[in-house]
């Protein structure tokens, strides 16, 4: 078509979630038609993000600072930690502005079928945070999938020795629903309706 550079661009774009080959070609065309206003600023933003964004060593969030801006925000309630599966869920909760405490990103859920076990989860830093003290409640905001529910149950069991209140986001999340696809109202209701256990 237009040389290996364009092919490479389309190929990389088509690997992004939500973009198949057809939409990748469309996106590439839009970028290439306006190099000064679209393509180069995007390349620059990607370059900068790639150099500075890293995983927060405390909570697993993505930020250009470590610890991240949420972990270091004095206005947040450090006694409540909300455990989520991925950074996407953290973003969804932040967008909905329903949680005033800190987060912990687990980086996945247990999945016997996909071969993801306890050792694959970002668990150790969470246990260290609890050992440090000062945490009163842990909210498990994992998706309402079988793996999410199983992980929440398993995690509640693991957190028991720390003597913190463990609550689960229960109602309002339809079965099979992932947190980051819920609208803000549903998310808020789900977090309000968390129950002990």
């Amino acid at each position: 078509m237009g040389g290996p550079e364009i092919e490479r661009l389309i190929e990389l774009l088509s690997r992004l979630p939500g973009l198949g080959p057809r939409s990748a070609r469309r996106a590439a065309l839009t970028l290439l038609r306006q190099p000064q206003t679209r393509l180069l600023p995007l390349a620059d933003a990607m370059q900068r993000a790639g150099q500075s964004v890293r995983t927060c060593s405390r909570c697993g969030n993505l930020d250009s600072r470590d610890p991240c801006s949420i972990c270091t925000d004095d206005h947040r309630d450090g006694s409540v930690i909300c455990v989520v599966e991925g950074v996407g869920d953290l973003w969804a909760l932040e967008r909905a502005a329903v949680h005033r405490g800190l987060y912990h990103v687990l980086g996945g859920t247990l999945s016997a079928l996909a071969g993801i076990g306890p050792e694959d989860l970002n668990l150790r830093p969470l246990l260290s945070r609890l050992e440090e003290g000062g945490v009163r409640e842990v909210i498990l905001a994992l998706g309402a999938t079988v793996d999410g529910a199983t992980t929440a149950h398993w995690l509640a069991d693991r957190l028991q020795p720390f003597g913190v209140t463990v609550s689960r986001v229960a109602q309002g999340v339809p079965m099979g629903g992932a947190l980051d696809v819920l609208d803000d109202g549903t998310l808020a209701a789900a977090l309000m309706a968390r129950r002990a256990g």
Partner: protein, 387 residues
Amino acid sequence: MSASPPVLLRRLSLGGFRSYDGFAWSDPGRVSVITGPNGSGKTNLLEALSLLVPGRGLRGARLAELPRGGAGHWGVAARFSHGEDGFDLSTGTTAETAPGRRVFRLDGQPPRHRGAIAERLSAVWLTPQMDRLFTEGPGGRRRFLDRLVLAAEPGHATEVAAHDEAMRSRNRLLGQEQPDRAWLAALEASMARHAVAVTAARRGLVSRMNRRLQDDPGDADGFPPVRLRLECPIATRLDEHPAVAVEDWLRSILAESRAIDARAGSARHGAHRADLFLSDARSGQDAALASTGQQKAMLIGAVLAHASLLAELAGEAPMLLLDEPLVHLDAHHRLTLLRALAAMPSQVLLTGTDPEGFAPLAGVAAFFRARQGPDGLSTLEATGAAE
């Protein structure tokens, strides 16, 4: 309860599906009869509609069997009306669909959650393969029951899928050298929770259908009044204990049977062990021991009773897809069936080899003939009333 207007099929389009491509069918009527020789594509049409609800459709086909010529992408798109209202529902695969999956679109959007489609459309079917329902293993009977339950409880398929996923996960974990015990306990808790939900829904439908069949056994010479019996230890427990107690019980027996289950590679307890039995309410005869014709009559009797129960409870009956319903039925039962379908407040599609048997539906049904052309593509032609 006041009757809501029926959900009616207004338009069906098929692309690259089985023997159909570039096919569009508009206003098939509330009752449509599709006739044609074997291989003309009439069952494919019913199968396409059965795939608009979650599951593997009326043939239980694997996804790889669905595209025309065994390769490429396929799509089934339908428009339904619901009184003044309506919705578009489609399914199929595209270049962007993950392998082994098909996608749904409800009014052009991915469904918001897994039960969203079942809230709009339910379908129940009978196929010639189901003539062996009572002589084969319990899996087919369980799927038949679950299809009936799903029409009443849109969340049922999700619960069944969640139960089976938790069960498969537990089986996998039990196959490991030293499985994490807390993880196993968590999976057993999931399994128990979903098993109790699934069983409660099955049990609820069976008892409502039995009550209805008892109150209204139909006319003495119609379909035999059937009695349904759910055979499942979880259901038996639910007769006497609250759901939470049954969940605790199931969790503890799952924990106790880990060693046995690990050796067997499967779970001894759970909602996947349930079975459904049908018997003639008058004679008490079990369906498995009845003649093929009697079995078919009992099955149809159950499907009709279910449709009228739902019409009464929800004001709406499921779409009925009956593939070769007249085969094995005597003349009397044929007439009873067709009269019942004529009075049914829902979309009904029927197939048969010849239109003659459907003559009692003249004036009620629209008649079509399926043909397969020299290019292998099926077409449909309106033929007017049967003679």
